[in-house]
């Protein structure tokens, strides 16, 4: 067994009470931290040893209730799972502890998660199905069918992905990774009949999957390895598979890659923008395009480079395509 070691750590902790404070403040606490502790132990010790009014949520202490989510030096963690040793190794011995969303802070680590739940609700995260009130037998799901959920059902709704998502940070309408993972979880369920309804919800511009910036923050932060962006990709795929993809700039942008690859092997950047935006919409990109052209950053159509062995690519596009738009 490795022996227990101790280090002195300085914590800067976000303190704020909506009812009494005009602005938040960062208070400093120094303490000896042992290699055995997790972040939740530190939160407890701040409360017990320094300030009884310090507030945070926790319940299960086993990484399953999702209540204890906080951020340490910007990294979203479940306080009860995250070992102090790992955090110290990563960031050193000055650590900042903050709620998962500063703009939604209510008291210290406690945030108002109303937006998270509203967005969850919006994607209809429940089985939609006409089930006989007195079925003759139970609704069986085979192991293979259960696997199709890709473990989206492991989500504990801790909100870490939601509050690490830059698209949510900038766009209040965006449903966010956890809601999309939930939408996929039910769309992939063989007993469910709500796929089309849900696809229409998640394909809205502004709120839906097309506004994801593909940063993979959600995949990285999730303590349950739900990999929300993988489910976002699946929802995109379902939109085409079920003929639910709207004909708009975002959808044409994805489809445009296939057109371009078929023609040149490589991407025709200019044509992708024109095809996605339409002949009128493309005009708003002209000012930037002119600046780029002057610096030799625009390839004119007749100079468009092509991949060698283009016939091979054309053939593969032809025989491997699985959807149409």
């Amino acid at each position: 067994m490795t022996s227990i070691t101790t280090q002195t750590i300085t914590f800067k902790v976000f303190r704020f009470n909506t009812e009494t404070d005009y602005l938040p403040a960062y208070k400093e606490y120094r303490m000896e931290v042992t290699s055995e502790e997790v972040v939740l132990d530190i939160l407890n010790r701040i409360k017990w040893e320094f300030d009884g009014s310090f507030s945070y949520r926790r319940s299960c202490r086993h990484g399953i209730c999702g209540a204890c989510a906080v951020k340490v030096n910007g990294k979203g963690v479940l306080a009860c799972k995250e070992r102090m040793n790992d955090i110290i190794e990563l960031f050193g011995n000055e650590l900042t502890i903050e709620p998962v969303s500063i703009k939604r802070a209510v008291k210290d680590m406690i945030v108002d998660k109303a937006d998270f739940w509203q967005k969850h609700d919006a994607v209809k995260p429940y089985l939609i199905s006409d089930i006989d009130e007195h079925p003759k037998q139970e609704s069986l799901v085979t192991p293979e069918q259960a696997e199709a959920l890709l473990e989206a059902d492991l989500c504990i709704q801790c909100g870490l992905c939601h509050y690490s998502c830059p698209a949510i940070e900038e766009n209040d309408d965006f449903f966010g990774p956890a809601a999309f993972a939930a939408a996929y979880r039910f769309n992939a369920d063989v007993r469910d009949e709500g796929t089309l309804e849900r696809l229409d919800v998640v394909n809205q511009m502004g709120a839906g999957v097309w506004d994801c910036v593909k940063c993979f923050e959600c995949a990285e932060v999730c303590p349950k390895e739900v990999n929300p962006i993988e489910k976002i990709t699946k929802l995109h795929n379902q939109a085409f598979e079920f003929g639910r993809a709207p004909n708009n700039v975002a959808v044409r942008h994805a489809v445009g890659f296939a057109h371009s690859i078929k023609k040149h092997g490589l991407l025709d950047e200019g044509e992708l923008v024109r095809y996605s935006e339409g002949n009128l919409g493309v005009l708003k990109h002209v000012p930037v395009a002119i600046k780029m052209y002057k610096k030799g950053k625009i390839v004119l159509p007749w100079n468009m480079p092509k991949s060698d062995k283009l016939d091979e690519i054309k053939k593969l596009v032809k025989i491997s395509s699985t959807v149409k738009f």
Binding site: N73, G74, K75, L90, F91, P166, A167, E170, M205, G206, W210, D211, C212, V213, K214, C215, F216, E217, A219, E220, T233, H236, N237, F240, V249, A250, H253, A254, F257, A258, I261, G265, L266, L267, E269, S276, E277, P287, V288, K291, M292, K295, G296, K297, I298, V299, P305, S307, D308, K309, E312, I313, K315, L316, V317, I319, S320, S321, T322, V323
Partner: protein, 288 residues
């Protein structure tokens, strides 16, 4: 040391809107004595968008690209974060799923190819750091960048998801910082260095994209950076050409010179401004 040799997957951007990136890649490889064999047969990787439309097609095309590195018996080197992730993700999925690999190979067989999975895929940044070595870089620096505060901008697909990335911790990456230091520069620490530039939602979600670009540039400016450096041509395009939208989105002028990591290294190694394609920038880089 044996001469390093890689199969270079250029991606599309380096052949079109960031020609300076390809030029500087070759210039730097030349100085370091790294041999790059260009995969001229390669197609577009789908840039994280093709798989939204047709995931299987995207797998087949990326597997085909890897086949050409395999047939040359070389490790594939990428110079774009998104090419790197798409290719590495394809490899990861095929190497861990026999039936998927078989389905992909069934298609590839029709053009006489087979994906085996025996070529590694790495970003040029990590090839330089892990295979070539920063100590040797330090010895070769002839023009240390000591008068500059340089802000590293890592780009998402180079660091996330970490199990497919080159070894940086996405919450505290260090590779690009280390390269700046090796070139003699001062590395600038700022909050947005490991955040998203917004490139992939530029058409679909222009406000979000412009805000993210603006915040990144603002973060670097506020920490007194003279310029920014990135290993990704897509981040570069966003940060170098879209400063008008970005400035508008954050309500402040955030124009700042942005260099490719190859250009920064090339400057330190004594490459000329022409070799590094420095005239192809939209944000002024005449400070050099």
């Amino acid at each position: 040391m044996e001469k390093l040799k890689y199969a270079l997957f250029t991606g599309c951007t380096a052949k079109e809107s960031t020609p300076e990136q390809l030029m500087s890649t070759y210039a730097v490889a030349d100085k370091l004595g790294i041999e790059l064999i260009e995969l001229t047969e390669a197609s577009c990787c789908g840039a994280s968008h093709l798989q939204d439309y047709d995931d299987f097609l995207s797998l087949v095309l990326n597997a085909r690209n890897i086949c050409y590195a395999e047939s040359r018996g070389l490790t594939m080197v990428t110079i774009c974060n998104t090419c790197q992730l798409n290719t590495a993700m394809t490899k990861h999925r095929l190497d861990n799923n026999e039936s998927l690999k078989a389905r992909v190979n069934e298609k590839l067989a029709e053009v006489g190819l087979e994906y085996k999975g025996d070529s590694e895929i790495t970003h040029f940044l990590y090839a330089i750091i892990d295979d070539f070595g920063l100590d040797k870089i330090k010895e070769m620096v002839v023009k240390p960048l000591s008068q500059f505060n340089i802000a590293p901008f890592y780009g998402c697909h180079n660091i996330r998801p970490s199990e497919l990335a080159g070894g940086d911790n996405p919450y505290n990456p260090t590779s690009l910082d280390d390269l700046i230091i090796a070139c003699g520069g001062e590395n600038v620490d700022y909050e947005e260095k490991n955040k998203c530039c917004g490139f992939h939602a530029e058409l679909q979600s222009p406000n979000t994209a412009a805000r993210l670009t603006g915040k990144a540039l603002m973060g670097a400016l506020d920490q007194n950076a003279d310029w920014m450096v990135t290993p990704c041509p897509l981040c570069h395009l966003k940060l170098d050409t879209q400063y008008d939208h970005a400035s508008h989105a954050v309500g402040r002028d955030v124009k700042m010179p942005v260099l490719h990591m190859q250009q920064m290294l090339g400057l330190a190694l004594g490459c000329t401004v022409d070799e590094l394609g420095l005239k192809h920038h939209v944000s002024d880089v005449t400070f050099i």
